[in-house]
């Protein structure tokens, strides 16, 4: 942190205004509802594959929670600090593979292994972030992409450690019994929920901290921050490292939930997926990131099921081929959102509820993110 | 008196969401030089850029009686608005000839002779890259780009900024020649040059017009000059910027 004079808006989480409570209250309500889902038998045909108490459904919902947490960490980078990274998947993968390797090669228990995996990922984020932040804007995006790609190559090449293309399986020796097996999916679901809420709190806390304000300010006007005597570099690096650590944490839980990981988690496509989620939900909106993750994950799952269905198989080629590719539909949807729904889901909801036009504000937000 | 060539009414402009020009109104007569004055940072450059549509703007702008405030920049220029930007903005990687060729607008390009006559230096250096020229020569390229076409009005932004006194005179003389054929809106810090060229002045302060009138009247009133422009009108003193 810098030791420059405190800005006038010295907001901390100590002085939380009434408006400041609202997101936290919403988080409590969300957490409570999500927490009791496994105990209920709610069915939403067309959205969920089955009633909410079934392991299959919970598995999918837990994936939604994990992606929501990951999207929140990406929101911190892109939405808050305006850093367009194409390499965020690297830190998620470091968490997942780090945990997998530690469990397989050491006798560490689950929690210490998670802590060490996250710590390693944080250290790597510090080093790579310091290099990447030598440049800004589009160059930053390309450089983070290159580093992530190197990570992906390393994972694929070093099969002795990572399982290569086959992927790495969860070694359950030191994993507590209550997290293993299909019947315990709901326990993993609850863990994922706790992680999501923890990530949410960290993000809220960071955004309200002095560093968070500086991050926002440097997104909007780097020059002004410099004039204030603050170093945007330090704050950006801090943001980068925190976002990466959170991504690594979600990666570890992902590894437990999926009982393993494949190199797909390291790929550039995976980061692009994150970008799609955040933009779909609404850049700059925390709830947008969460909702975007749910919509994307459920849609992806439903579209995959739809692609394999008889309804599609019977169509002529010109329709069957595009419809049987979920990513084609999602990519097209994404283009349409960018073109016609600036502000994504959150922006649209805000527009509808306030009746005022926020299109321009959302658009400017995106512009500023450059 | 004939109708003004350029009418600006209630013009406002923003840069990065910040209001830099606020409700500015003035006219540029169809003949001679009109000076747009004001301290550093009051919004002179922004006013010109707003007229050209280079920054987000609101308000009315009329060129020879027709509204141009909704047009994109290239269309405005095609209608006969010549622009000599602050800091010259020549294309350093292009040759002098290429800079001029880029500026030529087909049948409008009737000013080649005038350019050759005013800036013989440039003819000699036409194969040289513009980036390797001196500041004064670059300014001539920049002015030549505007003079090479037949225009209805020229917008000239601080053409003598950072130039040696001798060159300042050349530039001022060139503009005086140009002004015989086309009206000019001139932003200029050097009050001697203003005195030489301008008949009318418009003074801005924090994005608004605060004074309009004959040039001589303002320049002959030291108090008003100091108050409005923040400089002392000492005849003979050169403005030494940068």
């Amino acid at each position: 942190m810098t030791d420059a004079p405190a800005p006038a808006r010295r907001a901390g989480w100590i002085r939380i205004t009434r408006a400041g409570w609202f997101p936290l209250a919403l988080a409590v309500v969300f957490g409570a509802v999500a927490a009791v889902l496994p105990l209920l038998a709610i069915e939403i045909p067309g959205v969920l594959p089955g009633p909410t108490y079934l392991p299959g459904t919970l598995q999918l919902l837990a994936l939604c929670l994990i992606f929501a947490a990951l999207a929140l960490s990406y929101h911190l980078l892109f939405g808050t600090a305006g850093m367009l990274s194409f390499g965020h998947a690297l830190y998620f993968a470091l968490g997942a593979y780090g945990l997998g390797v530690l469990l397989q090669r050491t006798d560490l228990g689950l929690v210490p292994a998670i802590a060490i995996a996250v710590a390693i990922a944080t250290g790597i984020a510090l080093a790579l972030g310091a290099v990447s932040l030598r440049v800004a804007g589009i160059s930053f995006a390309m450089v983070t992409l290159a580093f992530a790609q190197a990570g992906s190559v390393l994972v694929r090449r070093n099969a002795w450690l990572t399982g290569g293309e086959e992927g790495l399986r969860l070694d359950t020796r030191n994993v507590p019994e209550f997290l293993i097996g299909v019947l315990n999916t709901r326990n993993v679901y609850w863990v994922a929920l706790v992680v999501l809420l923890a990530v949410f709190l960290v993000v809220v806390w960071f955004e309200r901290s002095r560093a968070g304000h500086v991050a926002v300010a440097s997104r909007e006007n780097e020059l002004r921050v410099r004039v204030l005597g603050l170093r945007p570099f330090t704050v950006k690096l801090l943001t980068f490292v925190i976002a990466s650590a959170l991504a690594a944490l979600t990666g570890t839980i992902y590894f437990v939930l999926q009982s393993g990981a494949t190199p797909r988690a390291t790929s550039a496509d995976f980061t692009l997926t994150l970008l799609v989620i955040v933009v779909l939900g609404g850049v700059g909106s925390r709830w947008g990131a969460v909702v975007g993750a749910f919509v994307y994950t459920l849609l992806d799952q439903r579209l995959t099921a739809f692609a394999a269905s008889d309804a599609v198989a019977g169509l002529p080629d010109a329709l069957r081929i595009p419809l049987s590719e979920p990513l084609f539909i999602l990519g097209t949807l994404f283009i349409l959102v960018v073109l016609f729904l600036p502000g994504g889901i959150a922006g649209t909801v805000r527009r509808a509820s306030s009746g005022r036009r926020v299109t321009r504000a959302a658009r400017e937000r995106l512009e500023e993110a450059e | 008196m004939s109708a003004p060539v350029l009418v600006v009414e209630g013009l406002s402009a923003r840069i990065a969401g910040q209001q830099v020009v606020e409700d500015v109104s003035f006219e540029v007569p169809a003949r001679g030089v009109t000076a747009l004055l004001g301290r550093n940072g009051v919004g002179k450059t922004s006013t010109i850029r707003a007229v050209l549509g280079l920054i987000e703007r609101r308000g009315l702008v009329e060129l020879a009686g027709e509204r141009i405030d909704a047009l994109p920049t290239h269309r405005i220029v095609q209608r006969g608005v010549g622009y000599v930007p602050e800091d010259r903005e020549v294309f350093g990687g292009l040759t002098v000839a290429e800079n001029l060729r880029l500026a030529e607008r087909g049948s409008d390009a009737t000013g080649r002779e005038l350019v050759r006559e005013l800036f013989p230096d440039l003819v000699e250096r036409q194969a040289q890259s513009a980036g390797s020229l001196s500041g004064g020569q670059q300014q001539m390229v920049s002015i030549a780009r505007a003079l090479i076409n037949r225009n209805a009005v020229l917008l000239v932004d601080e053409p003598t900024k950072g130039l040696a006194p001798l060159i300042v005179k050349d530039v001022a003389d060139a503009l005086a020649r140009a002004a015989e054929a086309v009206p000019i809106l001139l932003v200029e810090q050097n009050l001697q040059v203003v005195r030489q060229l301008a008949e009318t002045v418009v003074v801005l302060e924090s994005g608004r017009v605060v004074h309009r009138g004959p040039a001589a009247e303002l320049l002959d009133d030291p108090d008003a000059t100091t108050r409005l422009l923040g400089v002392h009108a000492e005849p003979g003193a050169e403005e030494g910027e940068r």
Partner: protein, 292 residues
Amino acid sequence: MSTIVLLLVTGLGLGALYFLVASGLSLIYGLMGVLNFAHGSFLTLGAFAGFELARRLGGDSWPALIASLVLGSAVGALAAALTELLLIRRLYERHIEQVLVTVGLSLATVALFEGIWGTDPIYVSAPAWFGQTTELLGARIPNDRFVLIGVAALVLLGIVAFLRFTRYGLIIRAGVENRPMVTALGIDVRRAFTVVFAIGGAAAGLGGVLASHYFGYVSAQLGGSLLIFAFIVTVIGGLGSLSGAAIASVVVAVLQQFANFYWGVGDLVVVLLLAGVLLLRPAGILGKKVHA
């Protein structure tokens, strides 16, 4: 010695591919500030188009190869021009959204290619001469390398000539330097946007057909894997600089070949090189300014 020559020529061949992709990326970025993620798809589409045509014309004849090269670049140019006209143009000056649209396009098109041509690589055939070798300084060099290098050199010359001797070229060079000033000279710079997209797409489509012969196959992933290296090349060369892209393409590819042969770590060395360049010269070899 012969190994070194072989690695050098192979590296030059790979560098030629990188350049065919990076030249367009760099021009587009330089003029418009758009990072085009869909550029890899132009390449893949060109490769598939060339493959389909060559297959119908009987595969391994020279006319079929030349026809496939022509078609590949035409298809690449067309796809790129349409992308600019239909998607990029609507988001004029909104750079991040333009990047996002190309991201969406790249995801969607790769999925579509997989739907049409499947996920497995499809092997391509070429004139027999392609697979043979020519001896050069004691090294037996596969002939396709020479074709690659020759075509890339021609493309470089062609683009340079276009930039130097045409009015559009003049506008593009000026626009890369200072776009607002070009419009302030009364020029509609947006038409030049379509032109650079088309040129970049043509080079990428050509690169796609050549890449399919260099690697021996086409797949939906072909463009994406080359694109990442092309990104690295454009950053190292300096965003917006054509000559920077050319130099960096060769440096990166040759280095990659040598590192791969001797230590098997070509890709990592390239990323390290990128990190080194950023630390020493954030704007790249020939870049002028760091874009904030």
